[in-house]
Symmetry: C2
Subunit: 542 residues, 2 copies
């Protein structure tokens, strides 16, 4: 059985290229003799393999991992949405739990993150019925199941299982995701846009974040590669660009114009980057905006597509809030639809659209489902993207199934259609009301202005802080908006994210606040926030 | 509402540090005037935003993304488990579907990847019951549910939901995973090892792969940082090291000693790397081995721990096959248990243990659940790892729940215990039989030797190819083992991965074959493989 052992030494020749393509140290054993010699040396070395605990610290090598010896890109990366204020909030929550009444509020209200179900939003029933049935198909043909689940959920579960090879929801799928689920998503995109979509353009991912990382990993070669990002931005982008060693090229959204995107600004920043030797590879547009909540106008979208085409930029379109539009005068249009309606086809513009099951009205953050639709890339590049996807095997099947469901919900006539529509409309109209109430409340505060919440899940009010507050923040070694957010938390239990975590025009201060607390909590939030703000202004008034 | 618009120009001062820590191009607008000037210039530029399709190619910028302009690390990365042979297999499968009878076999047998449920293995009932109930808790207190689900699954679902804040399985969790689920996992580790485990050391991840990437991202600064990896290795490691820009420092497992790991070899390769200016940061050990199937002996494990401690290396222990041991004379011991049993505590050795729900007897690959347990890192480093986890928010909740279930299965006395044990034992004993049968069949082939399959899910036979076959492979521009695997696929429909995808001693040739086809398919596989091999040897005999 081991008859080739003797051949081994003969075969130990130097051929590094036959191993893998990783940078290898090209020291292969040059002879079996050398190997066995050093082995016998080392067996003496390791004779005593049971040191006593007391002796262990003597022989201990210096700590192999310190802040000085880790990847500096990791050290540099920041992610404010789960940063210092949130840690502080978790501490307060623990204090409240251990010692009820220890603070002037009874609970922590997490308005820092777009996480609807953590604040009491219920999942869409139909989606969860289908997920449960796909998790446990053994009950699909039991009579009790008919009583517990809607008939179209049962039917849909069968359909989905039929699309999964061997009906195996516990198997790795194709690295882009189950083909049949991608078919459903492509059909949903077609129905949304009125232009064809190809299931082979879809890459299903564990939420949108890994898809963003994948594109950054593909595009960024060094700090000489730049990515145009809006300021303010969702800090996933700055974090991902930092981790991949690139340069964030900021373009400022115009707060005075409802967080509008000006092509002149893009052009200016692009030229400035070029003059510094930066090759700008891509433009990130978040529409509807995070943290800013604006919905980009159709004309503006056309200008953006034109700009990317002319400048040879990949358009990275973060469209995860596509279902979250709250004003009748604005409508979501995908950049692909805009591009196609301009007459541009596959070869004209390189475009990536990110979508997620975490947002919309479903808010299924914990399921980690999402996809990117990539168009305008050559077959060789698609192959590289496929390879990146395949290194992680595939995204989770529940997330894949859910992604297909959100893009292909119950239709008129289906048993669940009525309840599904009621749940959907209930959530979206409530979100619109909450946005309006909070926007109004913020705008009524001294020195605070807040743009209209047209879409997404956030408000990003600007706070004109008194100089005394700025000084107090400096004394506390905090950014002024972080100081404000920290004081707000301690006084009210409300968690918001300081604007400095998203980027802002230097010298201006903001915070991001979600519109997600349940509607019955909104009045209390408004009261607490208003009282806190008055007190804060009185304390620090110049 | 927009009363601060006028302040904006004044605030546009150069303060790059206030934005984020990403490398920013430090060109902020220097004045609003410049901006509006260039804007009016650009509005003329973009007057025509509806070009006709025919004109579009004229104005098209050169393709922004080509193989020459992407991240060379992506280009360099390889992942053979889903590589060329698999693409070829998918093509054949399509041909069989469109044109039944077009090949001499009726189906493609995917022995390339550890994906049990894709080959017909059924999921563990209890696990799926709990998952379904957690997905759709609305049915938990319905009477029909009692008839459909076991009572302990219902009870467990309640317990799990109680551990999830707001019972919201659709909410992002703590970035390390739901605390209550980590408690259950830590308790499972304690029960397994007989040493304490801390839930704060657990990071739940979407399968083990993202955890491996996270550690590589943390440790690798440049190509001057090396990671000691076994050869042969699971290509996730080479891919991840390549993507993060590090150097794979290979150490060869000794095929003649049942793929044993010799400390002398580690030492020699470490010194060789050092002499080339490489700082070796970590040692990867895969136990049970992938692709090699060996189980590391306890004495050898102690030597490895000692080596890592002495040399200041992080021990990255891939322990995803911990439940897959098929021989009575070997037993799985976690490296943490070994380290603790040697008297080493938290401060002595930096150790990461990777675990996954994809392997074991459950084989829930599609659920993408897993965790890493990190010990021996300072609080500052743990904070950095936490930050990396938080950038991706959290892993999927179904995977988190499943991770807690595999580490805390039904106990004696629970309603499901008997069926659970029967399912588990059935799968594991069948895997052991399949391993033995395939190992025997391979060893009976001319010029083939195959080590004992002690554990994991693979066999890694060595094939001594005739020189004529090597020449034919060269003529076909293929590695000889890829040539063999390709011929095997075309003749039999059996998909294996060439040894060159895992690394092997130069001049030797292997392939990896899973032991996962269902037991009733094994005789046919043996027959087909044997016939093919005879034909191949006859064709190419020197």
């Amino acid at each position: 059985m081991r008859k080739f052992a003797a051949d081994k030494a003969r075969n130990l020749i130097l051929r590094p290229s036959s191993c893998t393509t990783t940078t290898f140290v090209s020291h292969y054993r040059s002879s079996a003799l050398a190997s066995s010699t050093s082995q016998s040396h080392l067996s003496r070395f390791f004779t005593s393999v049971h040191p006593s605990p007391s002796s262990s610290s003597d022989s201990m090598a210096s700590n192999p991992v310190t802040l000085e010896t880790i990847n500096p890109k990791v050290l540099k990366c920041e992610y404010a949405v789960r940063g210092e204020i949130v840690t502080q909030a978790q501490r307060l929550q623990q204090e409240l739990k251990e010692n009820p009444g220890s603070h002037s509020f009874e609970e922590i209200l997490y308005c820092n993150i777009g996480n609807p179900q953590s604040l009491g939003q219920l999942p869409i029933t139909f989606f969860r019925e289908v997920l449960a049935l796909c998790d446990h198909p053994a009950i699909l043909d039991r009579s009790e199941t008919q009583a517990l689940f809607s008939s179209d959920a049962i039917e849909r579960a069968w359909q989905i299982l039929d699309q999964i090879p061997g009906r195996a929801t516990g198997a790795y799928s194709h690295s882009q995701g189950v083909k049949g689920l991608r078919d459903a998503i492509a059909a949903g995109i077609e129905a949304r846009d009125g232009f064809p979509a190809d299931p082979n353009d879809i890459f299903l991912t564990d939420g949108a974040s890994p898809a963003v990382h994948m594109m950054m990993q593909l595009l960024i070669r060094s700090e000489k590669d730049g990515i145009l990002c809006p300021i303010p931005q969702y800090p996933l982008y700055s974090a991902s660009i930092t981790l991949h060693g690139g340069t964030l090229v900021p373009y400022y959204l115009d707060e005075a114009a409802g967080w509008g995107l000006e092509i002149s600004e893009l052009k200016q920043q692009l030229e400035a980057a070029k003059s510094k030797g930066i090759t700008v590879r891509a433009l990130v547009v978040i529409n509807p905006g995070n943290p800013t909540g604006q919905v980009v106008a159709e004309d503006n979208q056309r200008e953006i597509v034109e700009f990317c085409k002319r400048e040879g930029l990949v358009l990275l379109a973060d469209e995860v809030y596509q279902e979250n539009v709250y004003v009748p005068e604005k409508k979501f249009h995908s950049f692909k639809k805009i591009s196609r309606s301009m007459g541009y086809g596959e070869k004209d513009v390189s475009l990536v659209s990110f979508q997620s099951v975490s947002k919309g009205f479903y808010g299924e953050c914990g399921k980690r489902g999402g996809y990117m639709e990539i168009t305008g890339f050559s077959p060789e590049i698609r192959e590289q993207i496929y390879k990146l996807a395949s290194v992680n095997l595939c995204s989770n099947l529940s997330g894949q199934i859910l992604s297909s469901l959100v893009m292909n919900p119950p239709k008129v006539g289906d048993e669940s259609h009525e309840s599904y529509s009621a749940e959907k409309d209930g959530i979206l109209s409530s979100l619109a009301r909450r946005a309006k109430t909070l926007e109004g409340a913020l705008n009524s505060l001294e020195g605070v202005t807040c743009n209209k919440a047209e879409g997404a899940m956030y408000l990003f009010p600007r706070i004109n802080l008194p100089q005394n507050a700025v000084k107090a923040a400096e004394a506390a070694k905090m950014a002024p908006d972080a100081f404000y957010a920290s004081r707000l938390l301690k006084a009210t239990g409300i968690v918001v994210v300081p604007g400095s975590g998203f980027g802002q025009v230097p010298g201006t201060w903001h915070f991001r606040c979600t519109i997600l607390p349940q509607e019955d909590k909104i009045p209390a939030i408004v009261t607490r926030l208003t009282e806190f703000h008055k007190g804060f202004m009185n304390e620090f008034r110049d």
